[in-house]
Symmetry: C2
Subunit: 105 residues, 2 copies
Amino acid sequence: MRQFRHPAPSEIQLESVLYALSDPMRLSIVRQLAREGEATCAALDGGRPKSSMSHHFRILREAGIIKTRNSGTSHMNELRRQDLENVFPGLLSIVLKAPETEVAR
Amino acid sequence: MRQFRHPAPSEIQLESVLYALSDPMRLSIVRQLAREGEATCAALDGGRPKSSMSHHFRILREAGIIKTRNSGTSHMNELRRQDLENVFPGLLSIVLKAPETEVAR
DNA sequence: GCTATTGTTCGAAAATTATCGAACTATCAA
DNA sequence: TTGATAGTTCGATAATTTTCGAACAATAGC
């Protein structure tokens, strides 16, 4: 498909990161990526239409939390662990450590 | 006035905390409370009408981030540092450490 | 070329949140 | 009791987000 906008580390804003992580579905995506390293959008299916999922990926991407690259016809996503660690040290691991709450379906 | 609802530590949800902190005005309140220990609502004036500020205090209070108590005719607010530390260790200090961005007025 | 697969984008509708003025409540002080 | 102060609540409007279907774009394989 085409290239995505990924903010540079210096452009990553705390507010945007916190906001992106404050949604259960997006948090669920982040946790899954943390467990599995990387995954396509389809593999991260949240039981919702593709357009809805795409919206959430975009929020995460534009906040600087995930990196998306093309891989054939699909998109491979991974956490920007190092970038986040550099900008907000410890934040991601705290969020991942917090007990997971049910995600509504 | 009257008593406020403050969630017990076990009721504090990550999503709500992150959401509450994702707003510039609320983040500014939290930072100020961190610096000054405690403050009345008036002292935390964000240059907006009282009803708007009251709304933000409520979001912070119901997320479990601040504790509000009556003090004469005013309300004294303080961070629930220890409770937050117990529930999401490290989170608050990371947020406070992050460089402050302008709050629009 | 055609077809299937994977996601994005668009547009509209629904839901949530923010904003503010006005009315209200509670406390203190004179 | 009157007045002043501090902040909440209500109600309405505005702004932002979310949600989803439908149309679209890009790649892969036949």
